[in-house]
């Protein structure tokens, strides 16, 4: 029971962070067809910028300023990079963002060094909020939960209840028609790209001190975010939400299961001291999202809730 509750709580928080990252990516992907390889690099950039701003001022200023800065960088990238490459097709775009991820990695190493920076939870939130089964639960995790939930509601309101959201939704499926109606589609693309990157930056600001802020964080997070987008389905924020939660819970609960394959498949004659039998579920946790990705692409290419095939 104890492990289950903690796994559930941590899984939900991890899932919400994943959703914050993938919501921007899924919007960009479904609108422009660009699977932005550098999306997790913007997440890393958000964490590092927040670290620097926090050193100079306070965490609360960083919480607002860092995502805005990351969003601006994203808009510049779209305007002067992606738009240029767009004419050469999707493979060229994918390659461009692949190179961009590479560049952001190197630039981060120049400015902030090759080792992890000491990006800490703000003192105001650095206390145990409640005690559960004798273990203290940090307040910052609940703060993450609230920020993510607030962002979720704000995004939902923006997309489903405002005029701007209506136009964005239309541009997802019928960009030419929206253009013919007099809307500036390139500007919409640029803004969506910027907002998507800003969301990734926000995830970096609140996730960077929850995990570790080091130059490897983009490489670790990037592929998992792809998995969320593909599993959730193209252009479906609901799908991305379900997939993010699924993967968040799957991974955190797998880590807390100590059973080995021999314990589970013992009835098939798998010995506990063979090489396969010794593998624990916990050590398989990092592989699970990719297993899910390959399975989904083979069995149901349009993802859980997608309307079109990838």
């Amino acid at each position: 029971m104890e492990t289950l509750v903690f796994a559930l709580l941590n899984g939900v928080i991890y899932g919400l962070l994943l959703f914050m990252l993938s919501s921007g990516l899924t919007l960009i992907f479904s609108m422009m067809g660009v699977l932005n390889f550098a999306h997790a690099s913007f997440y890393m950039l958000g964490a590092y910028l927040a670290f620097t701003i926090m050193e100079g001022t306070s965490f609360w200023i960083a919480l607002f300023l860092a995502p805005v800065l990351v969003g601006l960088v994203g808009m510049v990238v779209e305007r002067y990079g992606l738009r240029r490459v767009h004419a050469q097709g999707h493979v060229a775009e994918l390659l461009f963002t692949f190179g961009l991820a590479y560049l952001i990695d190197e630039v981060v190493k120049i400015f902030w060094g090759r080792t992890a920076v000491n990006y800490r939870v703000p003192e105001l939130l650095d206390f145990p909020l409640f005690t559960l089964y004798g273990a203290q639960y940090p307040a910052y995790r609940i703060f993450i939960l609230f920020v993510a939930a607030f962002m979720l509601v704000a995004l939902w309101y923006l997309l489903k209840r405002t005029r701007a959201g209506l136009i964005i939704q239309a541009a997802l499926t019928h960009p030419h028609m929206v253009g013919s109606l007099g809307h500036n589609v390139p500007l919409i693309f640029m803004s969506v790209f910027g907002v998507g990157c800003a969301l990734a930056g926000l995830a970096g600001v609140i996730g960077g001190n929850y995990f570790v802020t080091d130059p490897a964080m983009a490489v670790q997070m990037g592929p998992i975010v792809f998995v969320v987008v593909v599993v959730g389905g193209l252009g479906s924020l609901e799908g991305a939400f379900v997939a993010a939660m699924l993967i968040g819970l799957l991974q955190t609960s797998a880590i807390s299961i100590n059973a080995s394959l021999a314990d589970i498949f013992g009835f098939l004659g798998l010995g506990p001291h063979t090489e396969v039998g010794e593998i624990t579920i916990a050590s398989m946790a990092p592989m699970l999202p990719f297993l899910l990705l390959v399975l989904i692409l083979m069995i149901r290419p349009r993802g859980l809730m997608g309307e079109r095939e990838v």
Binding site: V91, G99, D105, E106, P223, E275, F290
Partner: protein
């Protein structure tokens, strides 16, 4: 009817043309491989050449997918890695020397790698080749992550973090090569590089090779003609895996070790960059890319800590402005000269060259100064006796002014060309 056939016959290249375009370059390549040892290259140079040979075969196999079949893979190192691992295991069986394996010369390792790579391609390709484009790229990424993670899990097959090492001097000698010293390994690598180049080139001439290009350009029409694009992709994928496995076998003999790192996304990304920078639309593009990248990887890293950044800048630059890569520049230049149009374009070329040199000056200044600042040892970038530190005004002038001028010049030459 006879008229028609007559016209078609006239369109076919003459035997002399075929010989000049297809056979002569291969002969020249073989001669080059034979001549190189006459210059007495140093040991480290030979090692570098050996790695170039391996990368050439690997890049060519990758281009069977990316350039010819239009399949972007983020996990091609999986096949080189699995081929190489199998070759290392075979080398160890050879060293045990019992039964059949005792008679197998280490010289044949790339053939075993070829087989293992083909098998891996056949197994993994079956689910991944159903779709092209982004889904294919995503599946290749997922598979690469899975295989790399499995590599760290099954120690008896992959040897854990330490990897598995072999001994290339075991087993019977072949053609009097003990494969001990690197210059003997050179002959081994040269032989298999030639086989690799010949094999991948021959593949482009087969009906399957032609069909793979057709599938890249228009899968629907291929289907109308009566072929299954899925099947074409699958077969090409198996061959690409096989040649990658062959490169793995070559690498197993040269370096005598394989680790799970060899299966990961890092070598897959490196070969993607090398192939693309070389130029994916030309057969020789990946060869050029492999040579340049291997050279840069081993030499530039001695000069500057920022070589990965230069690599990234170069890659992004090629993707944005030079989709045909280095081979595109080489062939574009020779074509212009051959057509006698050099007189019209040399001014615009000179302006562009000057612009690029100016941009490079700025970029190098910024990167070098930034890296020294970031390391924090107080080291100063001092090219040509200049003392460029962060407080020097000249540093900032050199970082900005040539960049602006260079961009203006390049834009001007681009404008002149489009007129």
């Amino acid at each position: 009817m006879t008229d028609m056939t007559a016209t078609y016959a006239a369109l076919e290249p003459s035997r002399a043309e075929k010989f000049r375009q297809r056979t002569v370059p291969l002969i020249a390549f073989a001669v080059l491989l034979l001549v190189i040892p006459l210059f007495n290259p140093s040991r480290s140079m030979v090692t570098l050449l050996n790695h170039m040979g391996i990368t050439i075969v690997f890049a060519l196999s990758y281009n069977m997918l990316l350039g010819r079949a239009g399949l972007l893979s983020f996990g091609h190192a999986v096949y080189m890695g699995l081929g190489g691992y199998f070759a290392v295991h075979v080398m160890n069986w050879v060293a045990d020397g019992s039964g059949f394996w005792g008679a197998v010369p280490v010289f044949t390792m790339p053939a075993f790698g070829f087989g293992a790579g083909a098998l891996a391609g056949a197994v993994i390709g079956w689910p991944s080749c159903r779709r092209a484009g982004t889904p294919f790229a995503m599946i290749s990424l997922g598979v690469a992550e899975l295989v790399a993670a499995a590599g760290f899990m099954f120690d008896s097959l992959f040897g854990g973090e330490m990897g598995i090492s072999g001994d290339r001097m075991s087993g019977p000698e072949f053609l009097g090569l003990s494969l001990g010293p690197v210059d003997e390994v050179y002959w081994f690598i040269a032989f298999w590089t030639f086989i690799g180049v010949l094999g991948t080139y021959a593949f482009t001439r087969t009906p399957l090779g032609k069909l793979s290009e057709a599938t890249r350009d228009n899968p629907e029409r291929v289907e109308f003609v009566g072929y299954s694009p899925q099947r074409v992709r699958y077969l090409v994928f198996i061959f690409a895996g096989a040649f990658a496995g062959m490169a793995g076998g070559m690498s197993a003999v040269q370096d005598e070790i394989f680790t799970p790192e060899n299966l990961s996304l890092i070598p897959s990304g490196a070969i993607l960059i090398a192939t693309y920078v070389g130029g994916i639309r030309y057969f020789t593009g990946p060869i050029m890319g492999a040579i340049i990248m291997t050279y840069m990887g081993s030499n530039l890293s001695d000069y500057t800590a920022g070589w990965l950044l230069y690599l990234g800048l170069m890659f992004v630059g090629v993707v944005m402005f030079l989709p045909n890569g280095i081979a595109g520049i080489v062939y574009g230049t020779t074509d212009t000269i051959r057509a006698g149009r050099l007189g019209e374009v040399w001014q615009s070329w000179l302006i562009r060259l000057a612009g690029l040199v100016l941009i490079a000056t700025s970029v190098i200044t910024i990167v070098e100064v930034a890296f020294r600042w970031s390391e924090g040892y107080g080291e100063v970038f001092e090219p040509f006796g200049l003392h460029l530190d962060t407080t020097n005004l000249l540093t900032w002038v050199l970082g900005v002014v040539p960049l602006v001028l260079g961009v203006l010049l390049v834009l001007k030459s681009a404008k002149g060309e489009s007129k």
